[in-house]
């Protein structure tokens, strides 16, 4: 428990970082995969969309997803959060990383 003492006052920040990491794992990485596949299809064929059942992934939709990915990355960059922080299996692993991250950020910000 003493190990996590430096994080005691940061529960709200930790919750948001945890939420960002779940959002990355569940949404952003899948969006990224879809845009890569769609880019390949558009590059190698005359296709104007990828159709999955009744759902259609057009150039416009691909661009919207790309915007989500880019703005998410900008958001992380603004707060010096690197994607590596989200490379964890168990929440305690994330907490350990957040502790090191906090020390680094505070040091850089003086």
């Amino acid at each position: 428990m003493i190990f996590y003492t430096p994080l005691q006052g940061d529960l709200d920040s930790i919750s948001l970082i945890l939420a960002l990491s779940i959002f990355y794992k569940r949404i952003i990485s899948n969006f990224d995969a879809a845009t890569k596949f769609t880019n390949r299809v558009f590059k190698y064929s005359e296709a104007v969309s990828v159709q999955l059942g009744t759902y259609e992934l057009t150039t416009g939709e691909r661009n919207k997803m790309t915007r989500v990915i880019l703005q998410y990355q900008e958001l992380l960059a603004k707060y010096s959060i690197e994607i590596d922080l989200f490379d964890y299996l168990e929440t305690k692993e994330l907490l350990r990383k957040i502790k090191a991250f906090k020390a680094r950020v505070n040091e850089n910000n003086g």
Binding site: L20, F37, V41, Q71, Y79, N109
Partner: protein
């Protein structure tokens, strides 16, 4: 540079703005997350062949749309796929990378299973008019037309998932359950592609299964797993050869 521990209000506001701005896109597309993961796997298999010297071509667009086969039902002729080819001397190696295609068991001709991604010999899809006892037709490939296959799972790896894959290999490609003296070069061996990260136990299971069988189990497909299909890393993957080629 903002500090997420000191500028909490600003972080909250930025997150609210981000979600408000993109909520429609996120909501609309989030229903397709599992399809997107399968797309990632399909994309990686195509990447593997490109990095292994194959030329890829997209076939069977329907009204300028790449029709992605999302389920096991339906006539594969109505869906798009990647064709891969490699010319060596006077021979051309030509294959199709398909998704959700029914494949015949290697033990019994009238039972089938449907791997997420299959690499097959070209123009080998068959039609069975009697399978359903109705007018609906059943489309499949005979077992000898299947070269290799992949299963894509958008989960964290767990023992049952990993061991179940051995059952599918036993049904479709039992010869892969014997260790090979040498690795092949042309095709990716049967592979289980998993999005989630592994723990120490699933790492032990992977090591054990890959030690016993000629297969690939790849975890963490969005990060480390994704890199497995790069030009420099594909040498580490288990591969197969096939003898059937078309003379030019």
């Amino acid at each position: 540079m903002a500090n997420p521990f000191k500028d909490l209000k600003e972080l909250n506001r930025d997150l609210d703005n981000f979600l408000r701005r993109h909520r429609t896109v996120i909501y609309n597309h989030s229903k397709r997350i599992s399809d997107f993961f399968e797309m990632a796997c399909y994309n990686n298999i195509v990447r593997f062949y490109e990095n292994n010297g194959y030329v890829t071509q997209i076939k069977n667009l329907v009204k300028q749309k790449f029709r992605y086969k999302c389920s096991t039902a339906g006539n594969p002729d109505n869906f798009s796929f990647f064709e891969i080819s490699k010319t060596q001397g006077n021979q051309i190696k030509l294959y199709e990378i398909r998704h959700n295609l029914n494949v015949q068991s290697s033990f019994q001709k009238d039972i089938f299973t449907t791997p997420d991604i299959s690499v097959i010999h070209p123009n080998t899809i068959m039609k069975d008019e009697d399978f359903y006892h109705s007018n609906t037709k059943y489309y499949f490939v005979e077992n000898h037309s299947l070269i290799t296959f992949c299963e894509a799972k958008n989960f964290n790896p767990f023992p049952e998932l990993l061991f179940n894959f051995v059952g599918i290999i036993n049904e479709l490609k039992p010869r892969l359950l014997k260790p090979k003296k040498a690795n092949g070069r042309e095709h990716l061996s049967a592979s289980l592609l998993i999005s989630g990260k592994s723990n120490a136990h699933s790492d032990r299971i992977k090591k054990s299964l890959e030690g016993r069988y000629h297969i690939n189990i790849l975890y963490d497909l969005f990060t480390i797993g994704n890199a497995s299909f790069s030009k420099y890393n594909i040498v580490r993957l288990r591969k197969l050869d096939t003898l059937k080629q078309i003379k030019l």
